[in-house]
Symmetry: C2
Subunit: 252 residues, 2 copies
């Protein structure tokens, strides 16, 4: 196994916690990080609340190679992420001329009021993150990447950031569907897990047409060992008389 | 405002963090808690990892009236939530005859192997949570409610728990859609927010048919004040020449 490079995500927004909005940013970021060998190991969803934002950022940024945030960088009174990040790092928040210039690509000068100019308030020392959708930038300060919450904008920002991330060995996975209840194969699965400690074996039961089945996902950084582990899972299920279905491609 | 009763949720599962599975439990729980006057204020998504589970539970259970967990209570080696909760509380995990009896409602005695019996390992002093779908129970220990991760089962467990929760004043909300960019109304919104500090005003921009609009959500526990706040938002937008659309019902 290569060195693991971990990341945390902080989803900032009352609308997620109230249930008004279904978050879809976590999954997008998780899958994207995996492509570059960075592993999302911790996520927090918190309110638009100064203490919650500062505490989360400061506890996570020392534990992870990367921290990403989504939400709270718009023009309204409830958008407080940028000022909280500045406080978390103990640096001033200031009007950034580079950010003002970007806002002017989208907004006519006569419409660039004080509220919209708040989107150009960036912590000192931060690097801007491109927003090809609506131009109001995100920013990176240290290992913390601050992005918009609107999925279309977040995705564009994240896609721009991704090539610059320095990942470790990529997590590969392979799945085998076994048409047998997970309780029936659990002991055998544990034996396989014990023989392959570097492979993570996940077991996800389902019911289809009234029959029990289980998707077994094997994950790790060594393709050969993942493949061997998945093969043992298939053999285990067939030895118990169950039909199996391989995902039909090498660990990816 | 009534006294606020807060809750935290811990989503336990590598499959959420890897992006394999889109979580839908957060939203279900958030909306359900709101119905009984409990406010979800913090969510963590963590791996099937002993230290992560124990740390999260012990830091959250002292800060919130209720803590809910989803995931990790099945029969396989990666299901470690129950033993971690026992460790977090410093109580033994033991085979619970009440839980064995429930497993036997679903599983034939000859199929009740050691792996499946792990689902009857419950921390000492815990109360079982009904699982009307597949019978393997969840449990409550202190203020921590441990539920399955499979949404259909989680929902059934949560629906059973909900009537027993003691909430505070219910959060009511009303939304007004204003067909104007949020940056244009941001200053006015801040003034309205300052006049109604007990109401939480959220601003959610959208683009529809190439035009900017904003959904303004007003939330609080006092229906009259929410209604008044929403009315002021509508007046603000109309004073700027924008069309507005009220959600057409009293704060709910």
């Amino acid at each position: 196994m290569g060195e693991e490079v971990s990341a945390a995500l902080v989803i900032i927004g009352n609308e997620i916690l109230s249930g008004r909005t279904q978050d879809i940013n976590l999954q997008y970021i998780a899958l994207g990080l995996n492509e570059v060998g960075v592993r999302l190991t911790e996520v927090r969803v918190i309110a638009d609340d100064e203490a919650a934002i500062i505490d989360s950022i400061n506890s996570l940024r020392v534990r992870h190679a990367y921290v990403f945030t989504t939400g709270g960088i718009g023009p309204t009174h409830d958008d407080i992420t940028s000022e909280c990040i500045a406080k978390a790092f103990g640096v001033p928040l200031r009007r950034d001329p580079r950010a003002v210039e970007r806002l002017l690509r989208q907004i006519k000068p006569e419409n660039l009021n004080e509220a919209r100019l708040r989107m150009a308030n960036i912590p000192e020392g931060a690097e801007l993150i491109d927003n090809p959708v609506s131009h109001a930038p995100g920013f990176r300060l240290g290992n913390v990447y601050v992005m918009a919450g609107v999925p279309r904008i977040m995705q564009a920002m994240f896609d721009g950031i991704r090539p610059s991330l320095k990942g470790g060995a990529r997590m590969l996975s392979k799945s085998v569907t076994i048409f047998i209840a997970e309780g029936t194969v659990a002991a055998g699965l544990r034996d396989i897990q014990d023989r392959h400690p570097a492979v993570e074996i996940g077991s996800y039961p389902f019911v289809r047409d009234g029959s029990f089945g289980t998707v077994i996902v094997t994950r790790g950084t060594d393709a050969a060992e993942i493949g061997a582990t998945a093969a043992e899972v298939g053999e285990l299920a067939r030895s118990l008389g169950a039909r199996t279905e391989d995902d039909g491609h090498p660990p990816a």
